[in-house]
Symmetry: C2
């Protein structure tokens, strides 16, 4: 799930989406992105790092320059995995053990805050 969060967080920012869209035209150097986007170089570098760390971009160093490109069809794959994640039997998902158990225990009284536990206190 952490990967989903990371990727969606990376995509959920307008400047990064613009960078992605530009790089989907063709791979570019940072300095080219700077010309195209007309925003500051550190700002671009920082966003590129987030996208790279999410696995969405790859980089290729060429002398002083760095070439950035979309990382294959990773976005499609993550999207597919996410749809699958939503459709999967929740009992099979790691990290949802407690939730699965609590869903199984949901009964019609689940929403009644009143004296549910008072009587079971025994005396």
């Amino acid at each position: 799930m952490d990967l989903f969060v990371k990727v969606f967080k990376a995509l959920g920012e307008p400047t990064r989406l613009k960078i992605l869209r530009i790089l989907s035209v063709r791979p570019m150097y940072v300095c080219e992105l700077e010309s195209v986007l007309n925003i500051s170089q550190p700002r671009i570098s920082q966003h590129l790092r987030v996208l790279k760390e999410a696995g969405v971009l790859r980089e290729a160093k060429e002398a002083q320059k760095t070439f950035y490109m979309l990382n294959g069809d990773i976005i499609e794959r993550v999207f597919g995995d996410f749809i699958q994640f939503l459709g999967e039997d929740i009992g099979k998902l790691p990290g949802f053990e407690k939730e699965t158990a609590r869903i199984a225990n949901l009964d019609s009284d689940s929403c009644v805050q009143s004296c549910k536990n008072v009587n079971s206190a025994g005396s």
Copy 2:
């Protein structure tokens, strides 16, 4: 593009992803989510609002209760639209006019900051 940002931002948060995953088992009342997730009610309500405003969830009021459910296959549709957005001819995208023009003007000197403009200043 704003819609993409809104949806990805909504998905890019662990608690909201958990809520989504739980609601993909079946629609639930807020109080049921509270039992299942074991987190505070305001926290759940606030996340539900974000998801609803992104269009990912729908709600149905039933007396005092509110029933929340996944909004059909909107996620799949947004994902599909986004892949299409990335593949589209950038010249056809609203909001990318300037970038399109600047890409067209990129030349081999695009990365040379030096005296590009000095000579053209005329004298």
